[in-house]
């Protein structure tokens, strides 16, 4: 390390950028959530009257209130959509773990050269458009879709899946599978084969060796994968919007609807703040996890 913190100097530009375009806007969201609903279009009341000096600032704060939040909590639709978002995200995370773990584990057992290709195969869908991948499921799930056509061939069906919660779960699992598999694979692949041999040598059957050695060692990957999926899923918009029905309630959809359909910006902001408040602990956990992994690498 040189004497001067020259890294700090390099950090200045992205630091400023993120400050202006990431951090500061959150204060605007917070402010707007406390503003009056009556003025649905900008400018919103209250505004800071800078010419009045500290008086103006005081007046500004005095005019802020929790009216919008009071409205949210009194409306059962908001509460239902909040709880349903958490349920969707939690259940889908569980499903992703159950589905993603065998895939990641299976990949890590392949010889290194093939592993690289498999890794590539799992990453590739992540690079292709999220919207298009969700859209692809519409053709599969719709009443006269490919799934029902296939079921009809074997004398089953038809299933009405599109615009149901089931379709949302399918979409969530499908879209977030790479995010679950990659962190799991990263820890599983690093595992030293000789650890399993040592476990076998000490009397473990392969399945005992898995539960007593491999699985505990993979827990950081489980945590990283679960957080990486859960957090954005709570606020997911595209999947419930395209695959879910009118009864599918999720916060991302609610924010979108309040903003674009109802033009109720303060309500959209308040829902966003509630969403953030809910996610702040998982996000901090995720950050700590990442920091630990980086430090371990260093």
């Amino acid at each position: 390390m040189s004497a001067k913190p020259r890294g700090g100097l390099a950090a200045l530009a992205p630091f400023l950028w993120l400050g202006v375009f990431f951090l500061f806007p959150f204060f605007l969201v917070a402010k707007l959530s406390l503003s009056d609903t009556a003025l649905a279009m900008p400018p919103y009341a209250p505004r800071v009257d800078w010419s009045a000096g500290s008086e103006g600032v005081r007046a500004f704060f005095a005019a802020l209130d929790f009216e919008t939040y009071a409205r949210l909590t009194s409306d059962s639709l908001y509460i239902a959509s909040y709880l349903s978002s958490l349920r969707f995200a939690a259940v889908a995370t569980g499903m992703l773990l159950i589905i993603g773990y065998p895939i990641a584990y299976g990949m890590s057992r392949f010889p290194p050269a093939q592993r690289q290709a498999l890794l590539m195969a799992v990453i590739l869908p992540f690079w292709t458009s999220f919207l298009i991948r969700v859209y692809a499921w519409i053709a599969v799930l719709k009443p006269q879709g490919l799934l029902n056509a296939a079921l009809a061939q074997i004398g089953l069906g038809p299933l009405n899946l599109l615009n149901t919660d089931t379709a949302v779960y399918i979409g969530l699992v499908y879209a977030y599978l790479p995010f679950m598999v990659l962190p799991l694979y990263a820890v599983l692949e690093k595992q030293d084969q000789s650890q399993l041999e040592a476990a076998a040598d000490l009397g473990c059957t392969p399945s005992q060796a898995f539960w007593r050695v491999t699985f505990p060692l993979s827990l950081p990957g489980v945590a990283a994968g679960a957080l990486l999926c859960f957090i954005p899923m709570v606020g997911e918009f595209v999947i419930p919007d395209l695959l879910g029905g009118s009864g599918t309630l999720m916060l991302g959809k609610t924010i979108w609807a309040e903003f674009f359909a109802n033009r109720d910006w303060p309500a959209a902001s308040a829902v966003a703040i509630v969403l953030l408040a809910t996610l702040v602990i998982p996000i901090l956990l995720y950050q700590r996890q990442q920091q630990k992994m980086i430090e371990a690498a260093q």
Binding site: G7, P14, F15, W17, G106, R109, T128
Partner: protein
């Protein structure tokens, strides 16, 4: 190393089938002569021809590409700086806040990011359009770029920079002469990631875009709400083909380079 068991093979195969089947079906049906999804009406490329007539769609493609190129470049430059700051500088004032700001957008719901950026542009009275989308995309993808470059920098031997300093380079010279050439693949990967993310984004663009700056995903979304259509299948196939070719190309080049390195070392 033991060969993968049957269970391992089936898990991986089923996982990949799940990931790829819908995409493959979409690609196949983009060549369907019939407008109906479940009826195969013979092979046809007419929907691709129809795309070329659709000025609105072509417009949207142009906007998307320009937004992607500019925002990805901005994000990569800022991402390199941010990654260097995070990896090389140890502790500095506000480091926790800084790393928080870098990591948070990765998991932040897009609706929240979109809404907050929109409120910023409204607050400063910036008319929404091409540049607001570009800046928004640069902000979000900057974080992804930082993570990719940071991962490479962490494993980069710090002694290389010190050696350059020892041999007469100033810190800035050392960065350009030694560090940058060696992290170049990661920088390129970061740029590609930023570019594809920008290409993909619907939610943030919907919030921060304005008249005359409709991006391709926004265009697709408005069509998709009306149902499955072969034109959308065709444009999706093109997009998938473009991205897949790019990603696989980069992957193969890297594989070849790695093999050459192995041969040389062996």
């Amino acid at each position: 190393m033991k060969a993968p068991s049957a269970f391992n093979r089936v898990s991986v195969a089923a996982g990949l089938a799940f990931l790829y089947l819908p995409i493959i079906l979409l690609v196949i049906y983009s060549f369907n002569a019939s407008r109906l999804v479940t009826v195969w009406g013979g092979f046809s490329t007419k929907w691709y021809g129809a795309l070329l007539q659709d000025d609105q769609l072509l417009d949207a493609i142009g906007v998307t590409l320009r937004v992607g190129l500019i925002s990805a470049t901005l994000a990569t430059v800022l991402g390199v700086l941010a990654a260097v700051a995070l990896v090389r500088s140890g502790r500095f004032k506000g480091r926790l806040l800084f790393s928080g700001m870098v990591f948070a957008p990765l998991v932040m719901p897009e609706v929240v990011l979109g809404l907050s950026l929109l409120l910023l542009f409204v607050a400063v009275g910036l008319p929404r359009g091409f540049w607001t989308v570009t800046v928004s995309h640069a902000t979000v993808t900057l974080c992804y770029a930082t993570v990719v470059i940071q991962a490479r920098l962490v494993s980069f031997d710090k002694a290389l920079e010190e050696a350059a300093r020892d041999l007469g380079c100033t810190p800035v010279q050392a960065f350009f002469a030694v560090t940058l050439p060696n992290i170049a693949p990661a920088v390129a990967a970061a740029w590609m990631l930023a570019f594809t993310l920008s290409l993909d984004d619907l939610v943030i663009a919907s919030f921060t875009s304005g008249p005359g700056a409709t991006t391709l995903p926004m265009r697709i979304y408005s069509q998709v709400r009306l149902g499955v259509s072969p034109e959308i299948n065709a444009v999706s196939t093109l997009l998938i083909g473009l991205v897949a070719t790019g990603v696989i190309g980069v992957y193969l080049v890297q594989q070849r380079r790695a093999r050459v390195a192995d041969l040389g070392a062996g």
